[in-house]
């Protein structure tokens, strides 16, 4: 498990929502990787900080609660919103459809009205005087000196600009911001009634291309041009709702404002990803010029991982494949990248010539016509279903013998034992041959992890093919004795236990 994968799982690991296997893998990684461990410690501290500063050490005094209760009773006497007669979502959707479907001259008139409306609101005509809250200061607050400052500030609208905050959605169009602020400022007593929200579950409206905010975010990464359409539609709908003069629509207008803000925020996020990716892509190109091929591949991979499905991601994938193929000679990686180019991206990213180019290379890599790529060629041929069983075994043995330094040795050992254990009509002598071969390999290879793998494969054949359990226990014991791959040793211990229990039960 690598750091990038672990970082993705860190939240779930912290919340203990991973499967026990994944939980163990992450834990193992955290033990060995200082950087991820630090990230995890920061996560633990963050939550501890949040919790530690979250609860009041004492509740307000009874006077405060009594004051609030009295004020709430008084306000209740002024009446609540009338109950809705039909689901609001449906009515709004119909309304939306009707608005969008109007003739052009009406839309034009609406646009003019919209601008006028924005202007009126910006002039502050709809601002209402803010009602003071119950005075909560005298009984338990000493800092009454603050009060005059607030009173003065409320009487004079703040001339200072809105403080920009990181992460808050920033709207592109000033009139949208004006309207949003005006609605918030209006402080209509009915403004935050939540009942209509409960009825208004069907937003975004049917017929729009956005099924949810998540979906919106993802789509906008691919097609930011949609945002202006959606924002326009919402603005039109909002204006019409407002002009209809019914205050019960105000909560829904607020909801739409938030939707617009979310779109703007998503678009901004998409822009940021695009700009970051562009920068990384340029760095990768520079690495190529400087002949730092591994660095280039790393940058291209970053680009392709950052915004999956995007054109930039596709180009990153394509370039990573090319560098692997042309400069480094890591054909396995090149093949994976080329295959991703074909399988994971929309077909219109592939121009005809590029498609031909990629398919040709994939063909070259998979059909083993490349003379300079013998180990993989042999491996793929051995795995080919059309190749006879015996020939396949010979090829895999040849691969292990001729290319001991190749990373495919492990895959070949896996393939060999798999074929013997699961193959039909495999004779005992063939299995014994392979055990002897693995024995030779154990002696020949100096790497302990490889020795352990061959030992484990031997044990597996005794266990699952020959059904010689006492011998299998002995062989698994040898696996445990080799100090290299802890997970393999653990697996062997598990098998020993199973076999032992099995023996005891059926003796």
């Amino acid at each position: 498990m690598d750091c990038r994968h672990v970082k993705k799982l860190l939240d779930d690991y912290f919340d203990k929502t991973l499967s026990s296997r994944e939980q163990d893998s992450v834990e193992e990684h955290l033990i060995s990787c200082a950087k991820c461990r630090e990230e995890y410690t920061r996560m633990e501290r963050l939550i501890a900080f949040l919790r530690d500063t979250a609860s009041p050490d004492a509740l307000p005094p009874p006077d405060f609660f009594n004051g609030v209760l009295a004020r709430a009773h008084e306000e209740r006497g002024k009446g609540a919103l009338p109950a809705e007669t039909a689901p609001l979502g449906r009515r709004l959707r119909n309304f939306f459809d009707a608005v969008v479907g109007r003739p052009t001259f009406l839309r034009l008139a609406e646009s003019i009205a919209l601008v006028l409306f924005g202007f009126i609101i910006a002039s502050g005509i709809f601002k209402q005087e803010k009602r003071p809250l119950v005075d909560i200061t005298p009984n338990h607050r000493v800092n009454q000196a603050n009060l005059p400052v607030e009173t003065v500030a409320q009487a004079t609208p703040a001339p200072t600009p809105v403080k920009p905050t990181v992460g808050e959605p920033v709207l592109n169009k000033s009139r949208v911001t004006d309207m949003e602020m005006a609605f918030k400022e209006a402080d209509n007593p009915n403004a935050s009634s939540l009942t209509p929200y409960a009825n208004f579950q069907s937003w975004p409206p049917a017929g729009s291309n956005f099924t949810s905010l998540e979906d919106t975010r993802l789509r906008l990464v691919a097609s930011p041009e949609r945002q202006s359409d959606v924002i326009e539609s919402i603005q039109r709908l909002k204006l019409n709702l407002y002009l209809s003069g019914e205050s019960r629509f105000i909560p829904d207008i607020h909801k739409m404002e938030r939707f617009v803000a979310d779109i703007a925020s998503a678009t901004q996020e998409a822009d940021n990803i695009y700009l970051n990716n562009l920068k990384t892509f340029q760095e990768a190109e520079q690495c190529l010029v400087d002949k730092k091929y591994l660095c280039a591949i790393q940058n291209y991979s970053t680009v392709s991982d950052r915004a999956p499905g995007s054109l930039m991601s596709f180009l990153g994938e394509f370039q990573a494949a090319n560098v692997n193929y042309e400069q480094i000679g890591d054909y396995k990686a090149a093949l994976t990248h080329y295959q991703k180019c074909i399988e994971n991206y929309p077909s219109h990213y592939l121009t005809e010539d590029k498609k031909e180019f990629i398919l040709k290379r994939i063909d070259l890599l998979t059909r083993n016509s490349a003379d300079d790529w013998r180990p993989l060629k042999i491996y793929l041929k051995a795995k080919n279903r059309d190749v006879a069983f015996d020939q396949s075994l010979t090829l895999l043995k040849q691969l292990i013998t001729d290319y001991p330094k190749c990373s495919l040795v492990r895959d070949a050992a896996d393939a060999l034992s798999f074929k013997i254990i699961n193959g039909e009509d495999v004779s005992v002598s063939t299995a014994e041959d392979l055990i002897a071969f693995f024995q030779q390999c154990r002696e020949r290879f100096e790497e302990k992890d490889l020795q352990q793998i061959f030992q484990f494969k031997t044990a597996e054949i005794f266990h699952q093919k020959m059904l010689n359990y006492p011998q299998a226990i002995l062989e698994y014991n040898r696996v445990v004795e080799i100090d290299a791959l802890s997970d393999l040793a653990e697996k062997a211990r598990g098998r020993i236990n199973t076999l032992y229990n099995y023996g005891v039960r059926f003796r």
Partner: protein, 199 residues
């Protein structure tokens, strides 16, 4: 488990306009409601204001609640919206003098069970809390609410999703993003445990 659960009979009586039932409802809810709002606002003054707004709205609009079983979701969502609206309103107030921001007033510690050892430590702790609050305020409303309800109030993903009226996937995404942003923005503070940070 949500704390804001109330006997449906009380709610029904409130809907019929029984004044005594409103008093009863307030008595049952007030402590938990205040704690919840404090955990979302993380500031005494703001918590009191939002608490008052929420109770007024609760009393005015409880009549329109159709399914009394969903009272807790309804209330959670209202609280979350009120907190977000209040924060948005506050973010536009820029008239508080700087001196007032950093001055440590004795009454700020009246409600703390453990009195700070000395004024310097008190100041450090106050600044630390302010910094954390500022960074929390900078999160987008959905991420902020999801992180606080899940990590601080201990609600499950499912409960948060129900309260906020969105999918569990969306809640998970928002928690993940919110935590990530806070880890980055609070990076220097998170190098030390809370006690050391306040020293």
């Amino acid at each position: 488990m949500s704390a804001l659960t109330v006997d449906p009979q009380i709610i029904k009586r409130c809907q019929e306009g029984d004044r005594a039932a409103f008093d009863e409802l307030f008595e049952v809810l007030k402590d938990d409601l205040f704690r919840l709002i404090y955990s979302l606002m993380r500031n005494y003054d703001d918590a009191e204001e939002v608490f008052q707004e929420c109770v007024i709205r609760l009393f005015r609009h409880i009549g329109s609640l159709r399914d009394t079983e969903r009272f807790a979701h309804w209330l959670y969502r209202m609280v979350a919206n009120q907190c977000n609206t209040h924060r948005a309103r506050n973010s536009r107030r820029s008239y508080i003098p700087l001196e007032e921001e950093i001055e440590v007033k004795a009454e700020d510690f009246v409600f703390q069970s453990s009195m700070p050892d000395n004024p310097r430590r008190a100041l450090m702790r106050k600044e630390l809390m302010q910094t954390i609050n500022e960074h929390i305020s900078e999160l987008p409303p959905r991420q902020r609410t999801a992180v606080l309800l899940f990590d601080v109030d201990g609600l499950s993903i499912k409960e948060v999703a129900e309260h906020l009226g969105c999918s569990e996937g969306a809640v998970k995404f928002n928690i993940h993003e919110g935590r990530k942003k806070l880890r980055i923005s609070l990076g220097p503070i998170l190098k030390f445990p809370m006690d050391e940070g306040a020293k």
